[in-house]
Amino acid sequence: MSSPEIDALTQALSRLPGLGPRSARRAVLHLLKRREIALKPLISALQAVEQNLATCAICGNVDTVNPCGVCTDPRRDAKLLCVVEEVADLWAMDRARLFPGRFHVLGGRLSALEGVGPDDLSIAQLMARVTAGGIDEVVLAMNATMEGATTMHYLAERLAGSGVSVTQLAHGVPVGGELDYLDEGTIAQALRARRPVA
């Protein structure tokens, strides 16, 4: 139906997370129809990213500059450090710009079954950053899974005695959530973490 070049483009796009063959065809058609305003800017954006792609040597974030924009941002509070499992978690935390500090990406989570141990994660780099001083608080923002919780306890243990305060994210009722729709495990967590009304 279409040329091999267009087919190859559709194939490549359909492999992207969140897309599929149908969405890829729609995207390709959109790009072909708007060569000047959509296709060309996309090509130059892709090229620019490809040429400068780098993993931040400090925090493990993915950016086009090294150290990354988050680490070099002078408005951020260097005393606060948030530890996350993956780059996607960093981006999720930073999307809302609510966390004023810097980040550290572990590159995964401890998983005995998948053979991911402490040496496979950037834990030594994290310890070095904390030991270097200047950090008051480390926020452990692991996922609320068994392996995430294990990683969190592990890091808390390693960071104990380093002189920084170590905190974790709260678990409980989501903003805008109705109690009626919550599972009992979440309600139990929220009850345990209850606090005086401000």
Binding site: L110, S111, A112, L113, G117, P118, M146, E147, A149, T150, T151, M152, H153, Y154, E157, R158, D183, E184, G185, A188
Partner: protein
């Protein structure tokens, strides 16, 4: 608290096990399925058992439930009667593209499998459970966990997390390199937190069952006393005990302490002897008494009467007990689905029963 009935008013199967299509309309009372061995009676009970969370009464994998020669997926749909309230349409099944993925619909909208527990509890007794008191502790723990889960919905989550953390710990201990002590401690913390919750929920379920059995008139069915054998685990004590048993666990190649080692002990109260020592018939009667008591506890706690599935149960009871069973089922007003090879076994049952003959995947009302 007044309890509301739950009844499978209509059951439709598509490409499920031996059935290409099946459609059963049932009354509120007993549903009696009769037919030869291998006719497909238990398949119908299994279909109903899938209308609650879990793997169903055969604990089979989803792909093997799809009919051979069918579309590759299967569907089980039911109209669930709720007494005076409007009936609810619930359904579950798989699609050919993803035969291992369970889909659930409640009133036409997609839902999580766990959401089914808000509508219906299904409890069962099958011939596979006949040797429960004689076999390994694992089977009894699974039985107890199923009883517990019907009362404490968080039980499944705690069990899964405990098992996952234990598997990881075993893997670390069995590795070639010396395991990282902090990593082990973090896993043990998880095991302690969830293990203590598992243990507490089991003990709560056993106590509730014990009270129900003690308080109720079980007629000719022997009363059983239940006990959880094994230590009562508090989180802190379990964490310390796990840390202390690392060496022993490494040598054994598994975790030697914790709630996964507990066992359900059942005693024949009147004879004051372990259930395993009782005769085969007495064991069956004990188990049936347990399942009935559990059904009443579930009704009282959730406010909804469970649906009971009794596979080949009548044949193993003498006539007195059979009549007593039917009378108790009628008094509890729970819908019960029963199978048997001979319709004459069910003569003592109430007049509102539905009789269905099953032969070669074909259903006909008697």
């Amino acid at each position: 608290m007044p309890t509301q009935p739950r009844t499978i008013d209509r059951l439709r199967l598509t490409d499920f096990r031996s059935y290409a299509h099946a459609d059963i309309t049932a009354g509120a009372g007993a549903v009696v399925l009769t037919g030869d061995n291998g006719a497909g009676k238990t398949n119908l009970l299994e279909a109903i058992s899938l209308l609650a969370p879990g793997r169903g009464l055969r604990r089979a994998g989803l792909p093997e439930m799809a009919r051979i020669g069918g579309s590759g997926g299967f569907a089980v749909a039911a109209t669930l009667g709720c007494g005076a309230d409007a009936p609810v349409e619930i359904g579950t099944g798989t699609q050919a593209e993803a035969p291992g993925r369970r889909l659930v619909r409640v009133n036409g909208a997609g839902a999580a499998a766990n959401a089914l527990s808000e509508w219906l509890s299904v409890l069962w007794l099958t011939p596979a459970m006949d040797r429960l008191f004689l076999e390994s502790a694992g089977g009894r723990r699974r039985f107890l966990d199923r009883l517990t889960l019907a009362l404490v919905s968080q039980h499944a989550g705690h069990t899964q997390r405990y098992d996952a953390a234990m598997q990881s710990r075993n893997k670390l201990l069995g590795g070639e390199r010396a395991p990282d002590a902090d990593w082990l401690a973090s896993l043990e913390k998880q095991m302690a937190e969830h293990g203590a919750a598992v243990d507490a929920a089991r003990r709560m379920a056993i106590e509730a069952l014990g009270q129900e059995i003690a308080a109720s008139d079980t007629g000719p069915f022997p009363k059983g006393a239940l006990l959880l054998e094994g230590e009562a685990w508090e989180a802190e004590a379990l964490e310390e005990a796990l840390a202390a048993s690392r060496r022993a666990d490494t040598a054994a190649g598994r975790t030697t302490i914790g709630p996964h080692r507990s066992d359900l002990a059942v005693t024949h109260l009147a004879k004051d002897q372990p259930a395993a020592r009782a005769s085969t018939g007495e064991q069956k009667a004990l188990l049936l008494g347990l399942v009935l008591a559990h059904a009443r506890v579930v009704a009282a706690r959730t406010g909804r009467r469970p649906v009971l599935l009794l596979d080949e149960v009548a044949a193993h009871l003498d006539e007195t007990r059979r009549a007593a069973l039917f009378a108790m089922l009628e008094a509890d007003a729970m819908q019960v689905w029963m199978t048997g090879t001979d319709v004459s076994l069910f003569r003592a049952i109430g007049a509102d029963a539905t009789y269905i003959d099953v032969s070669n995947g074909r259903l006909s009302r008697l």
